[in-house]
Amino acid sequence: MKKIGTVLKFEYRGYIKSKSFIITTIIFVAVILILSQIPRFMGTFDDIGSFIGGGEKQKALIELTGDARDGSFPSLLSVKHLNEATGGMYDWTIYGVAESDSGKATTTTPDPRKEIGEGKYDIVVVYGGSARYKLYGKSQDFSLLTLSSMLDPLFTSIARTVKMSGMSAEQKAKVKGVLDTTVVGKVETVGGGEAENNFWLAYVMLYVLFMTIITYGQFIVNAVVNEKSSKMMELLVTSARPIELMFGKVLGVGMAVFTQVGAIAAATGVSFALNVDTWEKQIPEFREMLSQMNISLGLFVFFMLFFLAGYFLYAFICAAVGSTASRVEDAGSVSTLPMMLAAASFLISMISMSNIDAAYVSVLSYIPFFSPWIMFARLCMASATFVEATIAVAILVVSVVFFGWLAAKVYRVGVMMYGKPMKLTAVVKAALRA
């Protein structure tokens, strides 16, 4: 164990002191700092829409139901109001109440999914005058987040106005909830299940996990192959047990990963926090957008669990495959297997976001190599419960232990072999015999 610590420290120090590590970290942090300063450079935006979306206007429909059809609402919720709130990015139509400046009006309530599915509208908002509204859009439409953050203040201000306009006690009671709680928007994508507003978060985090694993997985493969090709291995394996060398290396690179990702995350947090006022001047909804970004603690915990376990699962496999190559030129080809697995998992999770409740997605979300992405995606899209995620994490942890053990065996045999890279199956067989 002590030797694992020694190897870990040596590897960690090697990475964080290396030029490439320092330079990439600085570049990332610099880019984030610059991005966070954008509002200072750009002055005012005439139109939020031009900044966030731009291009052709999307066709949007708002359906008023229940209390929202009350007589007081038309004066508060008109196409003009909606255009102001959404920066003129949408071509609004109101269903539910006939009012003066709304072209079309009807009392029927169309099915939002059908409207979007048939392509009549890009966006459908269902608002019942309560603290909640529901936003329907096409899956993978990133503007839904922006839209919901623009609608929240509108609905909040409507509720406030309704209260202050001296309504009956009965009506006040109905809108009380709106004032006491922040308006909660629900986003539903057509062709997908119901999800909290954090499906975009899933994209970001799945991508972060993918990039981390392929980048640092390749680091590990290269480090092992370099040690072999620089003939360091003979000295090392006669000084420490291969299993200690492997664990030390995987943990050392792991710590370097968390240092870098942590530095970038901290830079992001600090720089945006410092600039939040500047941002807000340009985009009044910025604070709202930020609050939308707040993920729940549970989701964060699961992200960390999947991130850690996923990293170690792939890191062990990378160490094992790296040990089968002797030359730097072979490093790329031996790492194909883990890289393909990670890429496949990432792509499947991306694709499955639009069809998150499919049976194959549920099955894959429990399989160790895929679960860090797919189960996390399901969790974000509210397709899986925390209980299901816990089961997936448990399976993942068990397989991390198993693959750690297997990788150590392969590593022990692999690092002492020179010449052409052996087939992984042959090495595994040899490792299990040894």
């Binding site: 040596f10 290396s18 000295l235």
Partner: protein, 335 residues
């Protein structure tokens, strides 16, 4: 005491080590000598437990090598360190992996680098050093944990004469401190002066083992080296002054090498020189060099092996040491 008994190691079809046995006493320099591919490195890797032998055993002070707690310093044949890392850092790393406290490892690293005249490189990156200096760092790492047993695989390859001398003096120093140094080499002339004992390996088998001085003595003492300034052609002088004493004489390095018909003919040579009024500056028995012994042993068996494959130990083989035949025989070895 390191004892290897009946080691056998095969790689696929190749029998790299084929029943090799030897023992290395404490506090001496022991040379595992042989041609390329004789099995020296394989033997060392078995001792280091880099891999196990198919059969046979290695014990260190009576304990099987894999479970021995003896401190072993190792200079692998496959030289390599981290090119991008600072030298002191790497030395301390290996020292700590070998069970040292960090501070001790650092102190020892500085002392060793000083001894190796490499102190100025302490805080340099390895890849800024020349090959020869990198070799020195390798050696320092082998000695970092102040080991009881030091195993050096081909320590001289790649060293210039100055660095080879530094290496030799350090090895000697270790031996004088009572450490056991085992090293392999195929460059006989390089290691001759500090081998206490040798094991000649050929095709995975030990063909000659023992104390080098004794081995040399075991060869007939029938060659003289004589330097006598102004004596002219000593060969001619002996033909007339001591007929039947010498087979021949050749001039070499300022003196004469004289091959006697029998060791006791030395007296006759001395008498003949005296009679001719020649006072020799140097008059000594020329012992066979390690290289000559090597060629005699391995070269001879290489040729006998052609006819009787697998019978390299053939008991009644005659010693074919020939003073002036070294080159010719060496040529045969290579063919």
């Amino acid at each position: 005491m390191i004892k290897a008994e009946n080691l056998v190691k095969t790689f696929g079809e190749v029998r790299a080590i084929d029943g090799l046995s030897f023992r290395v006493g404490d506090g001496l320099a022991y040379g595992l000598l042989g041609r390329n591919g004789a099995g020296k490195t394989t033997t060392i890797r078995i001792i280091m437990n880099f891999f196990g032998a198919d059969s046979g055993s290695v014990t260190i002070d009576g304990v099987p090598a894999p479970s021995s707690k003896a401190k072993i310093g190792y200079l692998p044949e496959e030289r390599g360190l981290y090119p991008k890392r600072v030298i002191l850092e790497q030395m301390v790393y290996i020292g700590v992996l070998r069970g040292m406290a960090k501070r001790d490892a650092e102190g020892r690293a500085r002392v060793l680098l000083g001894k190796l005249e490499a102190g100025e490189y302490t805080n340099r990156r390895l890849d800024t050093l020349s090959k020869g200096n990198q070799q020195k760092i390798q050696l320092a790492i082998a000695l970092i944990s102040d080991p009881d047993v030091i195993i050096l695989d081909e320590p001289f390859s790649g060293l210039d004469p100055v660095n080879a001398r530094i290496l030799k003096s350090i090895v000697r120093e270790q031996v004088d401190e009572g450490k056991t140094v085992i090293f392999s080499s195929h460059q006989m002339s390089q290691v001759e002066e500090f081998c206490d004992e040798i094991c000649l390996i050929d095709r995975g088998r030990g063909v000659l083992e023992g104390n080098l001085k004794e081995i040399k003595r075991s060869y007939p003492r029938d060659t003289l080296y004589v330097e006598a300034y102004g004596a002219g052609d000593i060969g001619a002088l002996l033909r007339s002054g001591a007929p039947g004493a010498a087979i021949g004489a050749v001039e070499q390095g300022g003196g004469w090498l004289i091959k006697l018909t029998a060791p006791e003919k030395r007296k006759d040579v001395l008498a003949a020189l005296d009679a001719a009024g020649v006072v020799p500056e140097v008059f000594s028995v020329k012992e066979p060099t390690l290289e000559e012994i090597f060629v005699d042993k391995v070269g001879g068996e290489a040729s006998s092996g052609e006819g009787a494959d697998g019978d390299a130990d053939g008991g009644g083989k005659k010693r074919s040491f020939r003073l002036f035949g070294g080159n010719r025989k060496a040529g045969r070895v290579a063919s």
